[in-house]
């Protein structure tokens, strides 16, 4: 895909001279850090999807709400687009800058404002790291449940914008289930509180809408999260299988037994090898797949559930079942899974991480499809899978220095996502659409549905200044994309103009 904003397909942008915008912002918000020299801008040219890079016009690093407000008001008046960035760990190019835009970096808002153990809530600024919240809550025996693998680095503001998940979200929910309230600045610089510290708020559920909106509807400036009591105990079972399909079926069997594990993860042979080489997690190198099943809660229940799960796994044909003997071994089992991406990164010069979701029953079919695509393209694919909730992370291995491999990896990735959509799933479970999957949105949604998304956007940002070119494609883009992907000889969106 051409990553550059394409006005022909993504909509027109106002053209402004960089020095004019710089002067204007320096005057309007004199005390705010504003980077403009190329060497200062360079570190911000990409997020976690490093294959896509664009140098922003300017980078703003505000420290106060007044500065953010002042910046937004001026950008709105000038018609200059604003891309918000948290910690920049996003994997879909959501925080990819725009050449003609300001990159608004929220990382200096890094204060935990309060932790209230009796109300089990914490108020935090958007730049606070995900893990820092649980660390601050730990002295009270509490924690913040959603735990993306990037939790040591990613910001809670970015989590809200992506509706981030983690390995524990089948049982404990996604970000949207664990955020009580957010404060937002609109593109016009108006302040809004959505949600409440009570369990509901009057009016439409705009809090739900804000979660996962990828910086398209407003800038999140403060978040109140729910804290949970730390489970009394957590135990993890690791089961090996000589066949990926058997492992997939075992997942369904555990849930059919009435158990909702705290975490239920699957890795295939290549991912196992990568993780084992990297962190020595104690994974079986001869297995075709492993399942990690964590059971947490009150000690006595967890023991009962471990027995049940063990029986289910045996019946499902596990070749070996191992229970972590202690906390250290449990941490080791998880370290392999949580480091799976960087581990695969060590095996190959580059890798491309996909994020499709499917109904779990479709797993064997989709895995076969992925294997066929891998064979056909000659690119190896390692599979890491939030198995409990049907969220797949196929990692496509390639070498960007080899002519044509990036494009090939993108093509394979696109086809994997289309497999997921065809299986009744989605192109993204937690990493977001961003810039990366903008074309695949056209396979998941019809033009009328996309028009409704545009209507929602127009309600908050009619001038389309917040993160343009991300998340929701224009109909013109879908027409162009459709022209490249003619299914069954039917041209999608025949009524739209083509370029």
């Amino acid at each position: 895909m051409n990553i550059l904003f394409d006005e022909r397909l993504d909509g027109e942008l106002v053209q402004r001279d960089k020095s004019e915008v710089l002067n204007d912002l320096q005057q309007a918000v004199p005390d705010m850090t504003l980077l403009h020299r190329e060497e200062d801008l360079r570190p911000f040219e990409c997020d976690g999807l490093a294959a896509y890079r664009v140098l922003p016009m300017l980078v703003a690093l505000p420290e106060t709400l007044e500065q953010v407000k002042g910046l937004l008001k001026r950008c709105y008046a000038l018609g200059v687009p604003v891309v918000t960035r948290g910690a920049g760990t996003g994997l879909s190019g959501g925080a990819l800058p725009l050449e003609q835009g300001v990159l608004l970096v929220m990382s200096r808002f890094s204060k935990i404002l309060s932790v209230d153990p009796d109300a089990r809530m914490a108020r935090v600024q958007p730049g606070v790291r995900n893990l820092a919240i649980s660390e601050a809550a730990a002295p009270y025996g509490l924690y913040y449940a959603p735990d993306p693998s990037s939790q040591i680095a990613c910001s809670i503001g970015g989590n809200v914008a992506e509706n981030a998940g983690g390995v524990h979200c089948l049982k404990y929910g996604l970000t949207v289930h664990n955020v009580m309230r957010v404060d937002v600045l609109t593109i016009e610089g108006e302040h809004m509180t959505l949600g409440a510290e009570s369990f509901d708020a009057p009016g439409f559920d705009l809090l739900a809408l804000m979660n996962g909106s990828e910086g398209m509807l407003g800038v999140v400036t403060e978040i109140t999260v729910k804290l949970l009591p730390k489970p009394e105990t957590a135990k993890v079972l690791m089961a090996s299988f000589d066949d990926v399909e058997k492992a997939g079926r075992a997942v369904g069997d555990i849930i059919a037994a009435g158990i909702i594990p705290g975490g239920l993860e699957m890795m295939d042979k290549l991912a196992i090898k990568a993780a084992e080489d990297f962190v020595k997690a104690g994974y079986p190198l001869d297995a075709e797949a492993i399942l990690l099943c964590e059971l947490d809660g009150v000690e006595a229940d967890v023991d009962d559930d471990c027995d049940t799960v063990r029986r289910v796994l045996e019946k499902a044909g596990a070749t070996n079942i191992q229970q972590a003997r202690d906390e250290a071994e449990r941490a080791k089992f998880w370290a392999g899974r949580k480091n799976a991406f960087p581990a695969v990164g060590r095996m190959s010069p580059d890798y491309y991480c996909m994020d499709g979701t499917i109904p779990r029953r479709e797993l064997p079919r989709v895995l076969k499809g992925i294997a066929a695509l891998s064979e056909e393209s000659g690119l190896a694919v390692a599979n890491v899978f939030h198995a409990g909730d049907g969220n797949m992370h196929p990692l496509i291995l390639f070498d960007a220095n080899k002519e044509g491999q990036l494009a090939l990896a993108e093509e394979v990735g696109g086809k994997i996502l289309e497999l997921c959509v065809a299986a009744g799933g989605s192109i993204t479970g937690e990493h977001g659409v961003g810039r990366e999957k903008i074309n695949q949105m056209c396979s998941q949604f019809q033009p009328d549905e996309i028009s409704v998304f545009h209507a929602l956007k127009a309600a908050f940002d009619p001038k389309r200044l917040l993160n343009p070119g991300k998340n929701i494609p224009t109909l013109a883009r879908c027409a162009e994309f459709g022209a490249m992907h003619v299914h069954n000889n039917e041209l999608p969106h025949p009524d739209l103009p083509r370029f």
Partner: protein, 366 residues
Amino acid sequence: MTELAMHAADRDIADTLCEQVRSAYDARTPLRIVGGDTRAFYGRPVEGQALQMAEHSGIVSYDPVELIVTVRAGTRLSALQAALAEKHQMLGFEPPMFGEASTIGGAVATGLSGPRRPWAGAARDFVLGTRIITQEGKLLRFGGEVMKNVAGYDLSRMMAGAQGTLGVLTDISFKVLPIPNATHSLRLSLNLNDALKKLAELGRQPLPITAAAWHNGELFLRLEGGKSSVQATQERLGGESLDPSFWTSLRDHSHPFFQLNDGQALWRLSLPPNTAPLNLDIAETDIFYDWAGSQRWVKTALDADTLRAACKAVGGHATCYTPHAQGGAVEPFTPLNAVVEKYHRNLKAELDAHGIFNPGRLYAAF
């Protein structure tokens, strides 16, 4: 599907419904969306041509292993619950049933959740996807039948609680949960302050509590989870055992508390967890604390402004459950602040330009 059809009549009238919406849009005729019509009392009255949803019923798909069910909006809540119970599963949000005719569409549109809410989540937390009829009468799909899906804006969850003012729900997919293996309800004699203190203290511990209420000198608790932990917690907390129908009576307002005296209106106060008793002139016997104190049912003749000011001061809000005619508030829902209201109006204008969907149900302006 025959097995599912036993529970709810299998009828798909989406095309007819779309047709009705299209003509309403063309003629600019307001519609009053009607499920089981059991909650007509709730919210502001709507003048409009009835759009009857009850015929659009049936369980479209249900795979207990996936923990996902998809139902047509007119399906009776009781039918859906029976189908789930057969597989030892349930709707996690414990929706109130204000009558046998209650539909799942009405339950989601009103967005209300039962005693389990603080521990399990609200109606919107379990909504995975919807089919919606838009103002132009088009049937569109948002979200889906998968646990995780962040493609596009989360329109489905926003429909929960919008009371049909943004579109018509025709199909809804839910995440469902297994029915807990063990359950035990108990009552303890405790005064209000001690009860609230105890609830805060228990709340910080990993205990299998899924409902907590206080009324008239008694703390009521429900424990649910694994057999071992329920038993251990039961032994630890002691108290007398409580009939579980207590929770249904609280959920559905059939508990005698909900009988109003002359001049009293019924209010729901939604407050942050661990909020101290409000300083209002209301007899303790006229307050029922649910959700460990976060949801308080109040019978009072006090005016809306007084109640709302007290709630606002602690970060909450108040909803009136009795119509104006019976001494309730003209505006049942807490008015929005100016900026939030602006974006509500913008949204309504985008999704329902001619005001055909339940106009005035939430607020006079939209």
